[in-house]
Amino acid sequence: MASMNDDPGDGNLDLVPMIDCIMLLLLFFMMTTKFTPEEKSIANILPTDKGLVATQPSKVTPPQQVNILIYPAGFQRGFGERDYVNQLGALIKQSPNAIIQEAEIRVGNRPETLKIDVKILRQTPGPTLTKHVAEIHQFISQQLGPYEKGGADRKGQDPIVIQCFSSLSWQFALIAYDAVRSYEGGLSGIKPPFTPEKLLNMREVTFSPPRIRNYSEKELGGELFEILHSK
C-alpha cells in the first residue's frame, strides 16, 4: 500500500489531504466572513477651547443662539426644580436602565411641540419610520423659519444648539441634528458629504455640553427645569 501512495505515476491520486485542506479553508471563510451592510455617517466639527479668536475687541453683544429643546414628553410645567424632581422620580424609579419612550421637541420659545416616539424610531426601515422621520424634519424646518436673520448668509445665521435632556436616548438629539442639517443643506445648496472645509462655511450647529455630572434626582430635576424653561 505504501508504495502505491508514494508512486506519483499511479493512476490513483490521493485526494484526501487536498480535500481536508479545502474543507478547512472553506470552513475558515464561512466562519470569519461578515456581510456587513454599508453604514452611513453624519459629520460634525466640535469647537475647541482655543476656537475663533477675535482679532480686535468688539462691542459686547449677548450671544444669540437658537435652542432646540428636547425633553421627556408629558411633563407639567413647574415653578422650580422641585416640581420636576417629583415628576422625574416616578420615571427614573421604574428601573435605572429604563428607556424613556417619548420625547417632546421644541424650538426656542415657540409654542408648538412635536412628540417623538422611540418605538417608531426603533423599527426596521420602512414606511412608518420614513414618515415619522419626515414629520420631524418638516417640524424643525417650519419652526426654524421665524429665526432666519434677513440679509445674512448661512454662516452668518445664529448658531443652533441642540439641548437634549441627558437621560434621553441619544437618537433624539441626533434626529434633531439631522433635521437641522437637512434644512441648512436645502437653503445653502451645499451637498453632502460634509468635509471639514464645507462644515466651516455652514451655519454652526452643535450639541450642548453637559450641564450636570452628578446624576442624582435633584440635579436631573434642575437640568429638566433649565431645558424646559429655555428660550
Partner: protein, 203 residues
C-alpha cells in the same frame, strides 16, 4: 471481489466501490471557496455588529480621506449581542488592530470609561499625523473619530465622549470629571462622525 458473481455493469453502481467519483464534489467545494474568497471581506472591523444606530436622512456613506485615519468608538445601548448576553447600557468599546477594549460608564458618577478612553486617545493623538489649523493655530490630528452609538445610548454618554475627545475635561479624584484647567496644549480631536442608518432601508 468476494461476491464474484455479478457482471462489470453492476459493480460500477455499487457505492462500496473503491473509486468514488470525487470530481463533482471538488468542483462544488472550489466554487464555494472562490465565492467566499471573493465576496467576503475579512473584516478586521472596529465596528461591533450588534449595535443599532439611529436613523437619519442626510447622512452619507462613510469615506476616509487620504492621509486621515479613523477611530471608531462603539457605545452600547439596550442591545442583545449575537451570543445572547446584554452588555450594560452605555458600555464603551474601542477596537483596533485585533485588540478590543471595553469600559463601563454606566451608573451614577462612574467615570472610568471616559478616563480610559482619554488615555487611549492620548496615544492615538501622539501617533497621528497633524495639520495646522489656520484659524486657531493649533496642531490638530488627521483623525476622524466615529461615534457609533446605539440609538438607545443615553445622550449624556455621547456628550461626555465629545468632551473627552476635545480634551476639555480632566479627572479629579475627588470630584470625578471637571472642566480642564487652561494649562498646556489640549490634545483635541475635532472632526467627528456619527454613524447612522437610512430610514427607508438600503438604497
Amino acid at each position: 471481489m468476494s461476491g464474484g458473481g455479478g457482471g462489470g455493469r453492476k459493480k460500477k453502481i455499487l457505492p462500496s466501490e473503491d473509486h468514488l467519483d470525487l470530481v463533482p464534489l471538488i468542483d462544488c467545494v472550489f466554487l464555494l471557496l472562490l465565492f467566499f474568497m471573493l465576496c467576503g471581506r475579512l473584516s478586521n472591523d472596529q465596528r461591533t455588529e450588534q449595535i443599532t444606530v439611529p436613523p437619519t436622512k442626510t447622512a452619507t456613506k462613510l469615506n476616509t480621506e487620504k492621509d486621515w485615519s479613523r477611530v471608531i468608538i462603539n457605545v452600547f445601548g439596550n442591545t442583545k449581542t449575537t451570543s445572547g448576553n446584554t452588555p450594560p447600557r452605555n458600555t464603551i468599546r474601542l477596537m483596533a488592530g485585533g485588540w478590543s477594549k471595553e469600559w463601563r460608564s454606566e451608573g451614577v458618577n462612574n467615570f472610568t470609561g471616559y478616563i480610559k478612553l482619554r488615555e487611549e486617545m492620548n496615544t492615538v493623538w501622539d501617533k497621528a499625523k497633524k495639520y495646522k489649523d489656520p484659524k486657531s493655530g493649533m496642531d490638530l490630528p488627521q483623525v476622524v473619530c466615529e461615534i457609533r452609538a446605539d440609538a438607545d445610548t443615553e445622550y449624556r454618554v455621547v456628550q461626555e465622549i465629545q468632551m473627552v475627545l476635545t480634551d476639555s475635561v480632566m479627572v479629579d479624584p475627588a470630584e470625578g470629571l471637571k472642566p480642564r484647567a487652561p494649562t498646556g496644549a489640549p490634545k483635541a480631536f475635532v472632526y467627528i462622525d456619527y454613524t447612522t442608518r437610512a430610514p427607508q432601508g438600503p438604497g
